[in-house]
Symmetry: C2
Amino acid sequence: MLDQIDKELLKLLQKDCKQTNKALSNALGLSVTAVYERIRKLENNGIISNYVAILDKKKVDKSFAAFCHVKLVQHSQDYVMKFEREVRNLDEVLECYHISGDYDYLLKVLVEDMEAFREFMVKKLTKIDHIGSTHSMFMISEVKCTTAITL
Amino acid sequence: MLDQIDKELLKLLQKDCKQTNKALSNALGLSVTAVYERIRKLENNGIISNYVAILDKKKVDKSFAAFCHVKLVQHSQDYVMKFEREVRNLDEVLECYHISGDYDYLLKVLVEDMEAFREFMVKKLTKIDHIGSTHSMFMISEVKCTTAITL
DNA sequence: TAATATATAGATTATTTTTCTATTATTTAT
DNA sequence: ATAAATAATAGAAAAATAATCTATATATTA
């Protein structure tokens, strides 16, 4: 489905999606139209889901990251649905996964500082019903953070 | 530093960075030039760090996510530096954070399936020197996954 | 309040994307 | 193997967009 050229193209677009088709065509050794058609196809079949601007966390004063484990008191369909819906609406939560192990969920939370995190926990996360327990870990430093999937 | 218009603009660009300046100008009630100049400034001062294509994990057959805790045997500058350098070079590791708590690091690993994960652990991660212990959790489902920071 | 700096709008130019047509590869069926 | 059909590519033309420039308005500071 994806040939080697597509993979190379996706690698380039995952690094910088604003480079011109001309630049991409040079890098790939294709014509501009060939690149254009390949991108259009990748967009249409949903392999490329969207194009986004990535911000510098420090420069926008959101450099405090926490990872929160959450356990629900019960796992009824109802409680699960409600929790997931509410978590999706929390701006501070960038990622949330249902995971295996001692806890049910792992959340990646991004705020300005510890005080903001405390506020988030007290006023938002633990206000969600049916949360049994939580356990948080704090980011000391970021070693790697990319969105690029290697194909 | 960032006024309300900038924040609104960044929100739009974090959702879709390929919309035209015309579309942005309509949404913001500004002229195309005003939008253009604001974006240029946000790029130049590094608030926008880059523009990337986001791929559909399932469609590129990388829907198995794992979160690995890693503890080093020692925390000498040397071991730490070496571990971090090697982890950065692993394509399967999209994110790696030095964190507080029982373990030293939390890694987000993305591969095709459990077998690929096993391979990753045996052949790559645990091949890195000075790793004391690891503990992995597996994603059962993705509740939320965004790159957009709310300002 | 005047002087300076900053932000905006509208018009123009340069680039880029998109469309179109023709040609070349690749696949499929006979 | 070969002809027919399909898909991919290239180059040229048209349409859309980005980038630049000049002038005007708005805000800041001395």
